[in-house]
Subunit: 366 residues, 4 copies
C-alpha cells in the first residue's frame, strides 16, 4: 500500500512531481456546507511560495490553485474536492546533468532503490513542491476548524542554526510572526537569524532550524488511543514533511531530566469553575487525548540538502562526481515551512475531530 | 474510527484493560509458514515484565501469553493469530478510592472527557499493561525479520534524568545491554543511573529517560512517501507508547545547527564495490526511504506519572484532593521500555517491508 | 493486506479456526455508554447453533461467548471489546483421513494454493464456525441500532430447493419466523421445505436456499457514494458469508425486464406531509443512499458442500479418492443462516450509520 | 469516512461531477515500470462514450483523458497517477428547472437528505459520467494484468428486457462482442435486443439488462477470507455501479435448486497432470479464493431512470410536478456498461493480486 493519503475521515490524497504536469490533492470527506473558494486557499500558498523574500529561493513557481470538483455555488457538497496547480516553470533541462548522480542528502538514491527508476527532474515526487498540496488541503481544514470549532494554528520559527529565540507560549499574533521574513516573532533574534541565513547563502551553504507550533482552542477529547494518540498523529504528520528529523511535544526531550513531582500537571478549578490542569508541561495531551489546554510542539528541520558549494559524491556507476548545484534553492527552509507545519497540524486536528465524533459519544438518533 | 490497530499489512489490533478479563492482540496478515510458538514470544515479555528487578515496580503481573488461533502444527497458517494473556493480579479495590479523582499526569481526565465514562481500575485501557500486547506482537515481527531478512533490533537506555551515556552506534551486543538492570551498556553510567533511580524511588518520586534504538540490516527501499515515510511511521509508533514526549532520527534536533555541507552524507563506493553513503547523519533514511545504512533514533520518556509522594489535585466535582498513590509503580520507566521500543520498531519495519513488496517493484507473474 | 476485518468505524476483526483454541472477534469503535453483557449476545448465537433442530447438524458446538474487555460496570467504555468462545468439541481425529484430500465444493484446495499449507481439521478458518464471531459482533450492532435508532433486522427463509414462499414485505414478526424450524413464515411452504430437507438428509445429500432480509427503520441518508454505496456494502457483506452465490436488492434480477416508467418510484406526499417515494421497487436506496423506506434484499445459498453421499475426487498427489464424509453436517444451511444474514446486515448499517455522522453534515462544535 | 476510494493496494480515488470542472481519478499504488500513455486508456473510454451508436444517448461528452503525474518517460514511477478529463459539454441550464424536483429513480432526493444540499446539474456526483474515471483507472489495471499475469476481461450483454441469449462460457472473442452495437455476441438475439431498445426509445421509455462477465487466466489463490473474499469484492464492485441491482457468481440463484452432489465440483487430474476441479459450477472460487478456473458472474441493471415519457412526481416543497425529461439519455444502459464491468472487475483482480503477494506466501529476502 502506497503512502500518499493522509487521514481517515478528512482524507487528503496528494499527487504530482516537481516537473510533471501538475501537483495537487483530492480531499475526500470534507463536510458539506462549508463556504469555499480558491480565495480561501491562496493566502496560505503565498506564505509557502518560493521567491517571496531575499532569503528564499529566487525560483518562481506557479502556485495558483484551482478547485475542479466538490464545490457548488460556493459551498462544499460532501463529494471529493480536487485541488490542482499546473506546473509551469519546468526547466527540466537544468537537471539533465544530474540524471544518474546521487546528490548528497537527497532522495535520488533511495527512490531508485525503491522503484527501480526515478523522475530525475528536480527531485520528482520528493521535491518540496509536493507540500503545496498539503498547504492547500490544510487551508480547507483550517477554515473549517476556525469557523465551526474556534481552533487556530500559530507556528513560528524558534531557532535558526544555533540562534534560539525565547518566546512566550499562547500569546503571539500572526502579525508578530509576519513582521519579518524569517517568521520569528522576536525582532532582535530575527535580525540575527537573517544575518546568519544571508551569510550561509553567500557561502553557497545552508542551515537548519526549529519551528514551534501552537494549536489553540482544541477541546478536550481528541485523539484515538492506543496507536492513534494525538501526539503520535501529530508527530507522524511533522516527520512526513521534507527535511524534518525530530519532533517533541510539551516538555519533550528536556522533560526527561525532571522529577515526576515537578512534571505532573495537577488539576484545579479555574475562574469559570471548570476542572482543568493548572500547569501544562504535557503540552495539551494526557494519555494521547487532548486536555483542552494549549497544544504546543517543536519540529526540527535539517539544513537544506541542495547547496551551491562544491560537493564530492558518486553516480549510479560508482564514478566520483564533483557536484555544484545548478538549481535554485533555499539557504534555510524554516521560514517557508511555517505554513506547512500549520497545514499538517490542521489535517491532524480535523481528522481527529471527525473521528472523535464517531468513536467517543452516543451518536443518538438523528 | 477508533485507533487500536497498527499497520496496513501486518495488522496488530490490541485490546484489554489493566483490570479487565484479558489483554492481547489479534495479528492479521502474518505470512504463512513461519515457525511459531509461545516460546518465541515469552522472552520479550519477560524483559517487559514488572517485578523483574529492584528498580522496577514490585507489582506482579501475569504475562503468560497464549496463542489461540492462526498457528497449526507449529507454523503460522496465514489466518489471524490471537495472542491472549488473562489478567490475574487484579486488585481493583486498590483503585476504588480513585474513582472520581483526576491523578496528575494520568489519562483519567481525558478518558472521561472523551468517552463520558471510564474504567477507573488501574488506568484501564491507558495502563502500560497494554504494551504487553505490543511486545507479544512485536516478537512475531522480530522473529520473521530476523529469520527471513536478517534485520535486528537493538535498543538501550542512553539517558536517565540528567545522566547521559556516550555510546557507539552499531557496535553493542544484547549481552552488553542485559549486563545491568537499567539496560545501559556503559557500566559506569549504568551505576550512576541506578543510584539516581534508587534515590528517586526512596523519595517516592520518578524520573524520565531516553532510549536509543538501532535497527540493523534493513535493506534500502523501505518507507512509503509522501506521508508514510519511514521516519514518520517510526516516530508515530514511538509517540504512541505511554509517556513518550519526543522522537528524533539521525542528527535530530542537534543537526539543526549544522551547515548543509557538513550534514549531507556524500555517496561513495564501499569495499564491495557498492555505491552507498559514506557517512550517516541522516540516520538511515533519505526522502523517507531507507538507505540500507543503520537506522538509529532516540525516544524521550517523561517521568512516570504515578508517584508515592503526596500531590494536590482535584476530583470530578472540583474538590481539592490530597493524593498519595496506593498503587505500585516504577520510579523510571525506561529499563522496562527497551523491549517496547524494539517491538514497535519491529511492527513498523515488518509493515513497511510487506508494503514495499506491493508498491515498489514489478510483481511479475507467480 | 489480509481480509479479516469488517467496517471502517464499527470495526469487527474475527479470528479462529473450527478446531483451534478459540473463535471470536475484537470490536473496535463501539460507542461508549451502551449497556452490554453476554446475555445480549447469547440469543443470537443460539439461533445459529448447530444441533438446534432435527434438520440441522447434530454436531454440538460450544457457542458460549465471553466478553473479556471493553465493558465496565455493564457499559461499553469506547475501548475494544473482545468476544471469545473457546472451542470444545474438537474431534480433529475425524478429519485426519482428509489431510491431503481436496473435498469437492470445499476450500481445501484453494487455502493450500494460497497459503502453501492448511489447517485440515474441519475446514480450519473456512469453517462456518467462523460465523459465530459475526453473529456475536452483529448482536452488539443490532442492540445499538434498536435502542438508539429504532432500526430492526428481520430475515427469513424464502426458498429451499425449488420451493418458493410468497411472503409480504414489511409485515412479518419474529414470532412468525421462529414458528417453525426452517424459519419460513408460511406454515404450508415451511412444511414442504422441511419434507424436502428430510428427504435430502436421508439421501446423504444437501440442497440450497434463499433468505430474504429486511431492514426496517433506516433513516434516509446512509451509504457512501461512489464505491461504498449501501447496496455495495450490503452485497459484499452477504457474499462474504460461506456458501453465498448471489445477492439482489429491490427488484433485482427480475427488474431487468421492466420498463423505466414502471420501475421508477415516483415521489409523493405521505399522510404526515413528508415527501417520500410512493412505491419501493428500488428496495430502499437511490444512488446508493437509503431513502428512508424499507430495505429488502435476497441472498442465494448453494447446497452445502459436505454430504454423506459417496463422491469421487482427488488428493494432493493427484490420486483418485472415494470420499464418504465422516463429519456431521447440515442438509440445508439456510435455517441456521438467518441470524448470520441479520448480523451482517447490522454490521453494514451500524458502520454506515457511524460513517454518515462524519461525512454528511455539519458536525458543529461540541 | 467518505466512500470515493476503491482498493487497498491499487487504490483508485475518483472525483468529479457531471457539470463541474473535471472528472477523473488518482491511482496510488500502481507498480513502477509499467509502460503507460493516454493511448492505453482511450480505447476503453471510447467503448463507454455517449453517442457511440444510435441506441445510446446522443449527448456528446468530452472523454479525453490526460495523465498529469506518476508517469515519466513513458513508464509509471510508483507515484500517484492523476487521470483527468475536463468537462466541456456542460449545458447546466438544461437542468435548472429540476433544481428542486425529485426525479423518480434518481438520487436527487437521497443526496439532499444526506448532504443537506446538492449539485442539481445533471445528477452531479451521482451522474454516470463518474464511471469515466473507473474505466480510465481500470484500463491501467487491465494493461498490467494482461502484460504481467496473462489475465483478461471479457464481458458482454446477455439479456435486454426479457430477451436472453444463450452463450457459451470461455469461448467468446472481443470481436464477437464488438460485432454489434448492443454488445451481445449472438447475432440473432442482438437484433431482437436492438429492436426492443429502439421500440423503447421511440416510446421515450427505458429497459434493463444483464451483463455477464468473464475473467480469464486468474491463477489460484486470489481473494482474502473471511470478509474480502473474491466474490464479495467482485460483488461490491459491481453493486457500486450506477443502476446495478443484482450480482451472482457461478451457479448463482439458479444453483439454489440443485443438490449438493450435483453442484460440488469434483477434483481430478487434467492433461498436464495438474489437480484441478473437473466442473466449474462454483464460478472459479472456493472459500472465497480463486481456483484457477474461469471466473464468471452476472450483473443486473435496472431500466435507466431518465426517460422522456411524462412522469408525475413531487418537488422539495411537496408540490406535484409533471416531469418530461429535457436531458438526453440512454434507453438501455447495458451496451455502454460493458467496459465499466470490465474496468471494475480489473480493479478487483489487480487489488487482490497485489494483496495476495503480501498475505499469502513467504516473501523471502530481496
Amino acid at each position: 500500500m502506497a503512502g500518499n493519503t493522509w487521514g481517515q475521515m478528512f482524507r487528503v490524497s496528494t499527487f504530482g512531481e516537481s516537473h510533471g504536469g501538475a501537483v495537487g490533492a483530492v480531499v475526500d470527506g470534507c463536510p458539506a456546507g462549508l463556504d469555499l473558494s480558491e480565495a480561501d486557499i491562496q493566502p496560505a500558498l503565498d506564505r509557502r511560495r518560493p521567491g517571496q523574500s531575499s532569503i528564499t529561493t529566487p525560483r518562481k513557481e506557479e502556485d495558483q490553485i484551482q478547485i475542479l470538483s466538490g464545490v457548488f455555488e460556493g459551498k462544499t457538497t460532501g463529494t471529493p474536492i480536487l485541488l490542482l496547480a499546473h506546473n509551469k516553470d519546468a526547466r527540466s533541462s537544468d537537471y539533465h546533468a544530474l540524471l544518474s548522480v546521487y546528490r548528497p542528502g537527497h532522495a535520488d538514491f533511495t527512490y531508485e532503490k525503491k522503484y527501480g527508476l526515478r523522475d530525475w527532474r528536480g527531485s520528482g515526487r520528493a521535491s518540496a513542491r509536493e507540500t503545496l498540496a498539503r498547504v492547500a488541503a490544510g487551508a480547507i481544514a483550517q477554515k473549517y476548524l476556525r469557523e465551526r470549532c474556534g481552533v487556530s494554528f500559530v507556528s513560528y520559527v524558534q531557532q535558526v542554526g544555533p540562534i534560539v529565540a525565547e518566546l512566550p507560549l499562547g500569546k503571539l499574533f500572526i502579525e508578530d510572526i509576519e513582521a519579518n521574513m524569517v517568521r520569528c516573532p522576536d525582532a532582535a533574534k530575527a535580525a540575527e537569524m537573517i544575518a546568519l541565513i544571508e551569510e550561509v547563502q553567500s557561502e553557497g551553504d545552508s542551515v537548519g532550524g526549529v519551528i514551534r507550533g501552537e494549536i489553540r482552542g482544541v477541546p478536550a477529547g481528541l485523539g484515538e488511543p492506543v496507536f492513534d494518540k494525538l501526539p503520535a498523529e501529530l508527530g507522524k504528520a511533522m516527520l512526513s514533511i521534507n527535511a524534518v528529523k525530530g519532533f517533541e511535544i510539551g516538555s519533550g526531550f528536556a522533560g526527561v531530566a525532571w522529577r515526576g513531582s515537578q512534571h505532573n500537571d495537577a488539576f484545579g478549578v479555574d475562574a469559570t469553575g471548570a476542572v482543568r490542569p493548572i500547569t501544562n508541561h504535557a503540552g495539551g495531551t494526557l494519555g494521547g487525548i487532548s486536555t483542552g489546554e494549549l497544544l504546543y510542539f517543536r519540529v526540527a528541520f535539517k539544513p537544506v540538502s541542495t547547496i551551491r558549494k562544491r560537493q564530492e559524491t558518486a553516480n549510479k556507476a560508482g564514478e566520483r562526481i564533483d557536484l555544484e548545484a545548478a538549481g535554485r534553492h533555499d539557504p534555510c527552509v524554516v521560514p517557508r515551512a511555517v505554513p506547512i507545519v500549520d497545514a499538517m497540524a490542521a489535517l491532524v486536528i480535523m481528522d481527529l475531530w471527525m473521528r472523535h465524533h464517531t468513536t467517543a459519544r452516543d451518536l443518538g438518533a438523528d
